[in-house]
């Protein structure tokens, strides 16, 4: 019953987010601030992780190809498919559930503890719209970050080829081009939009409805990470089954 209560409250929060919108001049500032806080500040970690994981995928694939009948370009092909289909959209989102999600939950949770949300409500402001909506809009830019992650993942794989000698660059590039299906990129970005919405709203829900003090803010951040990750994994399965299955 508790789970049902939370699911119901979550969807009510989403409905409330679209009621009584905040003045556009104020909302614009909030959106720009959230783009900076949530997207800009995440680019470094996304770039770093993507580049090295791309390299690791290349190394692992190359080391596991022992059969001489398997063409060398498979290294590039496997890296591209792994990075574009799963690593960049899904696993980066799990990492972002920790980074961005914790930031959202703790910042909104602290506002709850210090009565700043009550202050907004008393002023007659729709606090859910004021706090959550700009984050949803800011995270519409999340696919750009993921695109950078895809590019750097593939580049990381190429760097492993050049500096580690796991495959030749022409073979790697041939692998990247072999059987390329643009629908896979489309599928990947559709998933990313879904994950972006989850990344903005589940942590906001846990921050907004938390009760207690500083300790509970920490607990809410942890809970939000767990549930955001669970939602991303489940939605990944469903969207993959629907779009590729």
């Amino acid at each position: 019953m508790t789970y049902l209560h939370h699911i119901g409250a979550y969807f009510l929060m989403i409905a409330e987010m679209f009621r009584k919108p905040t003045k556009w001049s104020v909302m614009r500032t909030l959106i720009l601030k959230d783009i900076n806080d949530l997207i800009n500040s995440s680019l470094g970690i996304i770039a770093f992780i993507s580049f090295f994981v791309g390299g690791v995928i290349t190394i692992q694939t190359a080391l596991n190809i022992s059969n001489p009948l398997i063409p060398k370009y498979l290294v590039g092909f496997a890296t591209r498919q792994s990075v574009v289909l799963e690593f960049a959209p899904t696993f980066t989102s799990i990492i972002m559930a920790g980074k961005v999600g914790s930031f959202i939950t703790s910042s909104i949770g602290t506002m709850r503890v210090t009565e700043q949300i009550d202050a907004l409500e008393v002023m007659g402001i729709n606090s859910i719209n004021y706090l959550v909506f700009p984050k949803v809009i800011a995270l519409l830019f999340y696919p750009f970050a993921i695109a950078i992650g895809m590019f750097l993942g593939i580049l990381g794989g190429m760097a492993a080829c050049i500096y580690g000698g796991y495959s030749s660059v022409p073979d790697y590039i041939l692998g990247l081009q072999t059987d390329f299906d643009s629908f896979h990129v489309f599928y990947s970005f559709i998933k990313t939009f879904i994950f972006a919405f989850v990344l903005a709203t589940i942590p906001s829900y846990h921050g907004y409805f938390m009760k207690g003090g500083a300790l509970e803010v920490g607990k809410a951040s942890t809970t939000s990470f767990v549930w955001t990750s669970v939602a991303i994994i489940l939605l990944n399965y469903i969207s993959t089954d629907l779009m590729l299955g």
Partner: protein, 255 residues
Amino acid sequence: MIEVKDLHKSFGEAHILKGISTTFEKGHTNLIIGQSGSGKTVFIKCLLGLFDYESGSISYDGKIFSQLSEDQKRDLRSKIGMVFQGSALFDSMTIAQNVMFPLQMFTKMSKSEMEDRADFVLKRVNLADAHQKMPSEASGGMQKRVAIARAIVNNPQYLFCDEPNSGLDPKTAIVIDNLIQEITDEYQITTVINSHDMNSVMEIGEKIVFLKNGFKEWEGSKDTIFKTDNEAVTDFVYSSNLFKKVRRMYLEENQ
């Protein structure tokens, strides 16, 4: 004017407010006093609509709050200024931005008009040089004054203060009390203050409502509180030896 009739509020099994009725007049400083756990904060949050209540009614100038639509409630709230116990200033904004916030949300003022208005109210609370400071850089007393400035910047009709003197030294507390009193008189606001501070009671209590265990035990003013023979009130208000002596002297002088 705010009118409360037979207000009941419970949290689960705990019955917190048990049929409170009272009236808060326009242009008066109204104090709600009582021991910790007597229901003061719950009462003030019910008045603000932050808590729903089981029965009774709260009306603002004749409009019953519970019968208003969500949009009407939000419009009414835009006429309310609130000073929270912990000030509740927005951490991410400077002091000037905090004060200008209600103007940004509810008026069509230009940026320079908003800055002028913020400048005026910050001077009014004796914070002329604090515009660019962040709330974390301000002392407790300064934060309270910023919270008052934010609460009055949009000319509210109703001002609520939850423990405005908590954590302040006696001198700063008197400055805050006098400021609230002056603002109430000057702008003819209906002011409701939730307080533990007996100095405030004696200084600005034009109307005092004493709550005990969720009931309204007594109501009067700073003048009548000296003469009351209600034991619960005298036990609470004159719990310190100093106030006992003050009361004895007052009664002897007025016999």
